[in-house]
């Protein structure tokens, strides 16, 4: 099954730049559907990036983050060919994770 997470990590030898795009509805719980019924909240609450067994970036998200969320950050270190692990969990208890190779 295709992962919900697309991640690109690029090292310039000194720092690694990470961009991630996740497929998720990110329903805030404040929006109504065409029938006027409230779409229940369904959003990613936590997103973690791990390199070399240690977290390099942690996100706590609310329903105010856009649908199919995007995030970009950089960390010092990270070698080409090394693994970067990405995982998320949402308010309904669903989770997904993937491992990307640093390019």
């Amino acid at each position: 099954m295709a992962s919900s997470i697309r991640v690109r990590a690029t090292s310039n030898g000194d720092t690694t730049e990470v961009q991630a795009l996740i497929q998720h509805p990110m329903d805030s719980g404040f929006v109504k559907d065409a029938k006027g019924e409230i779409i229940p909240p369904h959003f990613i609450q936590q997103l973690t990036f791990e390199y070399d067994g240690k977290p390099v970036f942690l996100a706590d998200w609310g329903g105010g983050v856009s649908k199919d969320p995007y995030v970009k950050f950089s960390f010092k270190g990270g070698k080409k060919g090394d693994d970067l692990k990405v995982s998320w969990s949402d308010n309904k208890g669903a989770t997904d994770s993937t491992t990307a190779k640093i390019q």
């Binding site: 720092t15 990110m26 805030s28 719980g29 404040f30 929006v31 109504k32 006027g36 409230i38 609450q45 936590q46 973690t48 240690k54 977290p55 390099v56 970036f57 942690l58 996100a59 706590d60 998200w61 609310g62 329903g63 105010g64 983050v65 856009s66 649908k67 969320p69 995007y70 995030v71 970009k72 950050f73 950089s74 960390f75 010092k76 270190g77 995982s87 969990s89 208890g93 989770t95």
Partner: protein, 162 residues
């Protein structure tokens, strides 16, 4: 559209008050997903319930920030689509441990909070929803203190459809 939005908001506010009252009596067991325990990093449930930026910042950090020109925010002057507003923040402050984004006019003002472990560059870009024209606030925690920057972003189409 906007009248729907209003009634929905009011109902949610009322519901929120009810929930808050119940939590006050310790009736509702907190349902923390497994993954959070593993990350040893608790999701700030309370902070995401607050209706004002001051309350949200207090719930998250227990302190109030001071305005700093060392906190830089890259946000559009006008956002045509409130459902997807690209906002980036960076800072020249040292020892940054977290960066938080808030939107004052959103029903939940706290949007996203990022922990910055040592070795991670204190610079984050993300995309957020905005219900209407509002101040966007970035709070940076550095050396145990809070610093903030605020910028108004005009929204022509609200993010309620997003």
């Amino acid at each position: 559209m906007s009248s729907h939005e209003f009634s929905a908001n009011r109902r949610l506010v009322l519901k929120g008050i009810g929930v808050a009252a119940l939590v006050g009596f310790g009736v509702i067991p907190l349902d923390v997903p497994q993954a959070l325990a593993a990350a040893n990093d608790k999701y700030p449930e309370e902070a995401f319930k607050q209706k004002t930026e001051a309350d949200a910042i207090k719930a998250l950090y227990g302190k109030t920030p001071e305005t700093s020109d060392k906190v830089k925010m890259d946000a559009p002057e006008i956002a045509e689509n409130g459902a997807v507003v690209p906002i980036a923040a960076t800072t020249t402050l040292a020892d940054v441990t977290s960066i938080t984004f808030l939107v004052s006019e959103n029903p939940v003002v706290l949007v996203a909070s990022y922990k910055i472990p040592a070795g991670t560059v204190p610079s984050v870009a993300n995309r957020i929803k905005m219900a209407k024209t509002s101040n966007v606030i970035v709070v940076v925690e550095a050396g145990g203190k809070l610093y903030s920057a605020t910028k108004e972003v005009k929204v022509t189409v609200g993010g309620c459809g997003g």
